[in-house]
Amino acid sequence: MTEDILAALSNVSSPTVLLAILIGVVVGVTIGALPGLSATMGMAIFAPTTFFLPPIEGISFLLALYKGGTFGGSITAVLIGTPGTASNAATVADGYAMTRQGKAGRALGLSVWGSVVGDGIGCIVLVLCAPMVASFALKVGNAEKFAITLMSLTLVAYVSGNSLMRGLLAAGLGLALCLIGTDPIGGADRLTFGIRELSAGIGVIPLAIGLFGMAEVMDQLGRWRQGSLIVPVVDRPRIPDILGRIWYYRRTVTMSALIGAVIGALPGIGAETSNWVAYGFAKRVSPNPERFGHGAEDGVIAPEVACNATCGAAMIPTLIFGIPGDIVTSILMGALIAQGLQPGPTLITENRDLFYTLYAGLFVSMVMMAFVGLIAIRFASRIILIPRPILFTSVAVMCVAGTYAINTRLFDVGMMMLFGVVGWALRLLRIPIAPLVLAFVLGRILEDSFRRMLIQSGGSFSPLWDRPIALGVTLVTVAVIAAALWTASPLARKRTLAISQD
């Protein structure tokens, strides 16, 4: 282990890796700070470019971009009341209120250092839990994998949509799309409709670039109007003052980090959920809950700590089980596979130096984020004021170049554009896109484990209740479905209405 750690430190201190991490953080913060551009979109667009880099540089760059993007979204949330990403939506209420009170610098300072602290705690959770979870993951068979994947799908549909049924519809479409291509067991063509290019299936990266990147471009260009964004003057925050305030709210910081880490470790849900849960919790435990929504400092710290703590913890299901924790990690998983690395328990045992290097890279990107974040505060207003028509037409060009580079096929560009139109239509109908992409990724794992389980058991479903881990996970899945159905029922609606009227 000591040798692995020393090797990791040696790897991560090489100039190319440090440069990749620095560029990743800068690009991530910039992307996150631009309204409409998110870490997810950035990961999708830049993932193909990493296929041409060595694995350590490529994956470190993507991880740094993920972290930078998650923090960057808070800049616009605080300055103009519009979150750069959905992960920072809870920051708006108090961050923007602080800006209107002339405390923009302090709000951004709290956001930067809250993100760094949350990120650090998330990384520590990953480092401590990964080896334990990996030894447990080696005992996981096809039945357990099937049960865990099914649970992830249920959680995805339940939490990430505007309604349970629309989330399920999106997840169903994702599952149907993953059927196209080659049969994973027999290797025969399936649902290719005679199109040769579909034999290899639809790639997750063109799908994600289309649904997140192109769809956002179309939506932004479709709705853009000549407006007047007024960006406030940002005073430079004093670091000792900011750190003192974070220490003052240490209880909220600790609880928010734990909430973020636990939610991140659950396969299927991520920072979009954890920031709201932490905000709600911080409000409940605060001695002054009436200040929330009117510029409460803990109202900025809690969601930022939580959504950044989710980043490190989301790696646990992705790297160890091969089941992505959220959309971003599903894109990361695609990038790992493209680099010839199969996520799963063997990733640790067979690629120990890479695994520990990624750990070290996470800590280095955390330190870099502290500095880049503080510099970004000074340039925040200039980043926000980039004209959106120019920005989004340029993003469209990058989407095309990134997609083409994967297989140098125009067919992929066409598919990406098609998914862009589909994503835009789904967005207009308020059907959530996240369950579609996650179900698309999880669907392949689901089918593979399901069919292998049936082959091993001779066509029987009994492994699902004969094996204790599979049984436990199946029971959780049933409980989640029951809770979701209860929430959607008219009786629950009446009760909620009665409580809110009280």
Partner: protein, 192 residues
């Protein structure tokens, strides 16, 4: 009094427009769900015709439950069922919709965003088709340069120096970075 009446009429007009928009969205949702349910149901019925290599798919077994068409059939039935439930639920107003929590929703107070008009939506879709058509004909640089200029102008952005600078610099830099950085040659023109 006149002002109050005008304000009341404006409020009623806005409410009417909102309800028309909601009705339109509802009809679109129902139509989409019906199309998905019909398509998925038809595919589920005929899945064997779309799965080749039946006999080789499951070595050592002839059990129909383990056939390669079983999992796709289950998924397609599930999709058809969920789509049908959605269309019925939407039609009778059964389902409760919570806020989406997406970036777009959160950006509702953005001063640079307005409603989407049919003309602009049609223009963007036409632009996508035109881009796809011209990419293999005129190549990446020319097509992307034109796309940046036309895209920015169509949505109403008017600062020519910024448009021209971006349109000239970005596609060229991208082409050369991909060509010499990643050894990927982006589409070149076939027209000349």
């Amino acid at each position: 009094m006149g002002g109050r009446a005008r304000s009341f009429a404006r409020g009623r007009g806005r409410e009417l427009m909102d309800s028309v928009d909601q009705l339109r969205a509802k009809i679109a949702m129902i139509a989409l769900c019906v199309v998905i349910a019909t398509g998925a149901g038809w595919l589920a019925f005929n899945i064997d015709a779309f799965v080749s290599g039946w006999a080789f798919a499951m070595p050592g077994t002839t059990d129909a439950a383990l056939a390669p068409a079983t999992f796709p059939r289950m998924i397609l039935w599930l999709v058809a069922l969920v789509a049908l439930a959605n269309s019925i639920g939407e039609a009778i107003g059964f389902f409760k919709h919570r806020p989406c929590g997406s970036t777009s929703d959160a950006m509702s107070n953005d001063l640079e965003r307005g409603p989407l008009t049919a003309v602009r939506a049609a223009g963007i879709l036409a632009g996508v088709v035109l881009y796809l058509w011209s990419l293999p004909v005129f190549g990446f640089i020319v097509t992307s340069t034109s796309a940046i200029v036309l895209g920015s102008r169509i949505v109403g952005y008017r600062r020519w120096p910024v448009i021209i600078a971006t349109a000239v610099i970005l596609p060229s830099i991208t082409w050369y970075s991909f060509r010499y950085g990643m050894k990927v040659i982006l589409p070149e023109a076939s027209a000349w």
